[in-house]
């Protein structure tokens, strides 16, 4: 799931907590995605070291868990930076300059910045384009200046 405001940064990796998260959800129907979301949520990403633990808790193969982690765009391979902006790059936002917004914000938040810029394809706010989620909070009718102010606030 997309995290709420997270200025403090994600939690540090802890195997015990990882197991706890997996155990807590192992009895729901189709538990793997809910577990991976819960890990991604808590740590900001799904660490390689989570895979054998989840596989063991669910009694499935590591390859299966790995296959699922790598299939979905949401599960990050590495921790995000302090702030996360997900900018919509789909058609309705394109029609209102969404590509330029994405390019300019990416350029301004390059190496050394504490902002992770990610592309998403539609946030369901296509009549108020361009749109972005900043630390999980939605913003419409954005321009580059506003977007940069938000991630630097």
């Amino acid at each position: 799931m997309i995290r709420p405001a997270r200025h403090a940064g994600p939690e540090a990796w802890r195997p015990e907590l990882m197991r706890e998260l997996a155990e807590a959800l192992k009895h729901v129907d189709g538990p793997l995605l809910p577990i991976l979301h819960s890990i991604n949520d808590r740590f900001g990403y799904v660490d390689e070291r989570a895979i054998p633990i989840v596989a063991e808790v669910l009694n499935i193969s590591r390859a299966d868990v790995h296959g699922v982690v790598s299939f979905y765009h949401d599960f990050r391979k590495a921790p995000p930076k302090r702030r996360v902006i997900k900018i919509c790059r789909a058609e309705a936002c394109q029609s209102m300059g969404g590509d330029e917004l994405y390019d300019e914000v990416s350029k301004a938040c390059g190496a050394g910045s504490d902002v992770t810029v990610e592309a998403v394809y539609c946030l369901g706010n296509c009549a108020l384009s361009p749109v972005a989620l900043v630390d999980g909070k939605i913003h419409g009718r954005l321009d580059t200046e506003q977007a940069l102010a938000l991630v630097r606030s």
């Binding site: 991976l36 309705a92 209102m96 394809y121 539609c122 296509c126 108020l128």
Partner: protein, 512 residues
């Protein structure tokens, strides 16, 4: 009496400051010790007016919008002459001329109050269904002419009949709330603004086919809707709309929600079922149909949010009420979503048959930028790009298909005359490459070849030959794909080529 002030809690309204406005109103109420309370509603779907604040009055609800935090004090001091005053909300032409059936309550009621829902006509359909034989429920849905609103337009009642006809201990009701198409937001608005309607529709489906359990699969790009739907399920359980004794009938029906993980393909129904089971979202070959072997191998009804949400009205008002709206084989109303570069974007629910021109020029008022409208894409990323010459086409499944388009989930994205259709065609191929589930070679590899070829065209390299190559690739995609992601990507590409050929050849001169 306590005055009620309505501020949308809808994600679109929040994206332009509705939460801040609600807080400012709260502060004024507290400071003046006024006898007023704020109700966070869904949105009316007039997004250019958001945040749209409404006050109760003797004549009805008076609207103000778009409201900024700095406007709030004057809302109380000088409401009658406030520059943002819009008059009675129901008289705003954009809303007044609509036929709100599915969205009759959205933006009006408190989305999380069952009593409010019932007072505005909710639960009537489910009560009827509880007193109706399952076969008759299915027959009413068939008779209504309702077709699936997720894109493919398959008759909903026929699907239900198949599931109802299978003998099995376990069956499932699954709601497809993946709403991945750019330009669409009706599912999201409904889940945030009238979530009990979806729950009621799914419960009726459960009674009709003999299922006691359902899942709602919501995309992760909708964190707001996911939270709201979760709260609504809790309220529904506490109010006995869900659980072991639905509305005191002794019948069981319960729901769980699940979150997607950022994969467009998981909107495709079999991929969605794989994902619900905790697997990679790869498309399953059909047969078997999900109706026979769906979730966890059991018979499953899978429908779009809007399909389920149309059902309570059909049960409450009768199949004829719904069927009498619309044209041809497109019966009932369609929640059309107008988006992109448009002055008045939002939700337009109308009976099928309204023309594209009435939507884009009438409701939409032209482009946001004020420049001429040059193209629209209807039906999401797999829909056709059309020029204004096709604007007299009525909104109807068959009329759109006859002209090489599709209405899909009802999204319309407007572009002004600065759009480059070669770039849009390139994007369609790129999107296919990014979102491919990887099962079919043309979709996985061919799409990337397509992007490279479009790059050459856009650089002016061997344009004629490369356009032919793109056409060939599209043919391979159309014929060699298991699902519509690969199979329909040619639609935006070839329609752009057909209607806007100059955008593809413009750069030929450069390289020559």
């Amino acid at each position: 009496m306590t005055m009620r002030i309505y501020v949308p809690g809808d994600a679109a309204a929040v994206s332009v400051g509705a939460d801040d406005v609600a807080r400012a109103i709260e502060a004024v109420i507290a400071a003046g010790k006024r006898d007023a309370t704020i109700v966070r509603t869904g949105s009316r779907g007039m997004f250019w007016l958001e945040p749209l604040v409404e006050f109760d009055s003797a004549d009805g609800r008076v609207g103000f919008g778009p409201v900024k935090v700095s406007d709030v004090k004057a809302l109380f001091a000088a409401a009658a002459t406030h520059p943002r005053r819009l008059g009675l909300v129901e008289n705003i032409p954009f809303l007044k001329s609509q036929q709100r059936v599915t969205f009759a309550r959205c933006g009006i009621i408190d989305p999380l109050l069952l009593a409010d829902y019932e007072q505005h006509g909710g639960l009537k359909g489910l009560r009827r269904a509880l007193a109706t034989a399952p076969g008759d429920i299915v027959q009413q849905v068939i008779d209504s002419g309702l077709r699936g609103r997720g894109g493919a337009g398959f008759p909903t009642g026929i699907k239900w009949r198949t599931v109802a006809g299978v003998q099995n201990d376990r069956k499932y009701i699954v709601c497809n709330a993946d709403e991945g198409d750019s330009g669409t937001f009706a599912d999201r608005m409904l889940m945030e603004g009238d979530p009990f309607l979806l729950i009621e529709g799914m419960a009726i489906a459960g009674l009709a086919v003999g299922a006691t359990k359902g899942f709602i699969y919501i995309r992760s790009e909708y964190p707001h809707a996911f939270r709201q739907m979760g709260r609504a399920l809790d309220v529904a359980r506490a109010g006995k709309l869900l659980g072991p004794d639905v509305l005191g009938s002794g019948r069981t029906f319960d729901l769980e929600i699940r979150l997607g993980a950022g994969a467009y393909i998981c909107g495709e129904e079999t991929s969605l079922l794989e994902s619900l089971e905790g697997k990679r979202g790869q498309v399953r070959p059909k047969p078997p149909l999900p109706a026979l072997q769906g979730l966890f191998g059991q018979p499953t009804v899978i429908n779009n949010v809007l399909s389920f949400a149309a059902v309570p009205t059909i049960l409450a008002e009768g199949a004829a009420f719904y069927r009498d709206l619309g044209m041809g084989r497109s019966r009932g109303t369609m929640p059309i979503q107008l988006a992109g570069n448009v002055k008045h974007g939002g939700l337009i629910e109308r009976a099928f048959g309204i023309t594209l021109r009435d939507i884009v020029e009438g409701y939409g008022g032209g482009s946001f930028t004020g420049r001429p409208v040059r193209a629209v894409q209807v039906g999401g990323p797999l829909g056709a790009y059309w020029p204004t010459e096709l604007f007299d086409t009525p909104f109807d499944y068959e009329a759109f298909a006859a002209k090489g388009g599709m209405i899909g989930h009802g999204g319309i994205v407007v572009f002004d005359d600065t759009v480059d259709l070669a770039k849009q065609a390139r994007f369609a191929l790129e999107f296919c490459a990014i979102e491919s589930c990887g099962k079919c070679t043309p979709c996985r590899i061919g799409s990337t070849r397509g992007v490279e070829t479009m790059d050459k065209i856009m650089r002016g390299e061997r344009v004629v030959e490369n356009i032919d190559l793109v056409r060939d690739l599209c043919e391979v995609l159309r014929d060699g794909s298991l699902c519509a992601l690969g199979g329909l990507t040619p639609l935006p590409v070839l329609s752009a080529l057909e209607h806007f050929p100059d955008d593809f050849t413009r750069d030929a001169a450069k390289a020559a």
